[in-house]
């Protein structure tokens, strides 16, 4: 019966199946089980790689180097070693498979890896050249001290990147890379160590070119790494971030003051701010920033919660409940656990 279906009908069925089973967080679907069914199915599927969104998923336990040649050499590669539950870094036997995948630099579209210090050194060594298809770069260090990412990462170009997330990884030369990241939608720099300090002025300079940016998160690991150096005078003009809807910050108020004095965010829907272990707050610029956005103006409900870690203040639009606050401000009163 199924053999009577035309190629077009089968392709339609495969595509509907793909749409039904794919999960946005999963990045891939199990098309490879279908191509093993018969030669005809294999031909139909490989004839429409874009429509069927065929990509090679390299993840924990995948023998990438051994099987890479089995698949069409044009398929994009996703490198995903990101266990968001346990933040498990790849096993030693996975390391060569990651290298094998990264050696296909033209094909790599996503890199999401939780890694140790030594694994980061190896990964960075093979990411010195351009990655012309890379849209998503997400790295998280499991070690307290990660090496500083070099200036030449990705060949110094991020023109295809839409999403950058560095967690616990210092990259002080990032602003230079961002100058080429015109398609960037999400920028998340979190748990920035002392060695990765980037000044507000440097961030602002590159933000001015990121007109598609929708989500910005800047978070320092400690008050020391966020402590502000050489505060400049308040500028007379501000950078407009026309697409930004989500903004998160963790650090000291002086840094946020310098940042918020220099940006206008007309589309902002949520701002989440955490101040680290400060006793005195002087936030006139944050107040002015809030005046220029909707997050405070249209919020009608507020929660103030005091717990063992500090105080959390949240504002909500009418009808919104946790965790969909429009504005949250947390003041931590003890050292972070990391």
């Amino acid at each position: 019966m199924i053999n009577k279906l035309s190629d077009d009908i089968l392709l339609e069925i495969f595509d509907l199946y793909r749409i039904a089973v794919v999960e946005s967080w999963d990045h891939s679907w199990t098309w490879h089980t279908l191509v093993h069914t018969c030669r005809r199915w294999r031909h139909i599927i490989f004839a429409s790689p874009k429509r069927l969104d065929l990509r090679l998923l390299c993840t924990y336990g995948t023998p990438v180097r051994r099987i890479l040649h089995c698949w069409p050499p044009t398929l994009p590669i996703i490198i995903n070693y990101w266990d968001s539950v346990e933040f498990m870094h790849p096993a030693p036997e996975d390391e060569d498979n990651i290298i094998a995948a990264l050696e296909q630099a033209d094909r790599v579209s996503r890199v999401e890896v939780v890694l140790s210090r030594s694994q980061l050194v190896k990964l960075v060594a093979v990411m010195q050249g351009p990655f012309p298809s890379l849209t998503y770069l997400r790295l998280r260090s499991v070690d307290e001290t990660a090496p500083v990412l070099p200036r030449g990462l990705l060949g110094g170009s991020a023109s295809t990147l839409r999403d950058i997330s560095l967690d616990g990884i210092p990259f002080p030369a990032l602003p230079r890379l961002l100058l080429s990241a015109h398609d960037l939608v999400s920028l998340r720099l979190w748990r920035i160590p002392d060695s990765g300090y980037i000044s507000p002025q440097a961030i602002i300079t590159c933000l001015s070119t990121l007109v598609r940016l929708e989500w910005l998160a800047i978070g320092f690991r400690s008050p020391i790494s966020a402590s502000h150096r050489n505060r400049p005078p308040t500028p007379s003009t501000r950078v407009i971030l026309p697409s930004l809807t989500q903004f998160n910050f963790q650090g000291v108020s002086e840094y946020l003051e310098d940042l918020s004095a220099r940006i206008d965010v007309p589309q902002l829907e949520h701002a989440g701010i955490t101040f680290l272990n400060q006793l005195i707050f002087d936030i006139p610029q944050l107040s002015l920033f809030a005046h220029r956005t909707n997050v405070l103006r249209f919020s009608t409900r507020a929660n103030m919660y005091s717990g063992p870690d500090g105080v959390l203040f949240s504002l909500y639009y009418p009808g919104a409940t946790d965790p969909y606050e429009s504005f949250s401000l947390r003041v931590l009163s003890k050292e972070l656990d990391w």
């Binding site: 944050l286 409900r301 929660n303 103030m304 919660y305 005091s306 105080v311 203040f313």
Partner: protein, 113 residues
Amino acid sequence: MTGICNQLSLLSGVGHLNIRVDYLKSGWQDDMESAEWVEFLRPFSAVQMLEVSGEAQVIPHFALALEGLARGMVMSVLPSLRMLRFMGSRRSASVKRFIARQLSGHPIEVHYG
């Protein structure tokens, strides 16, 4: 937090305020004096519904802060209040006295639960 809230002047649009205090440092009365409660509440000039919950000592202290308001300050704190809800607390004479002094011209419901 009091200092921060006082700098965020747009809080005057908030109509419903929920305060929960689950953790008190030793000597917390020194940290959160009655005057600080008042200063914390001052930016919330449009609050009609206020809920307070948490540690057993918090609500009596909060109620005392309201009762202790000087006569001239009563109307400047929570002038739009219509409903006051204390979760997990018994009736408070301090609250009753605060309500009696409110001259906003509209009734204020007080709930304990």
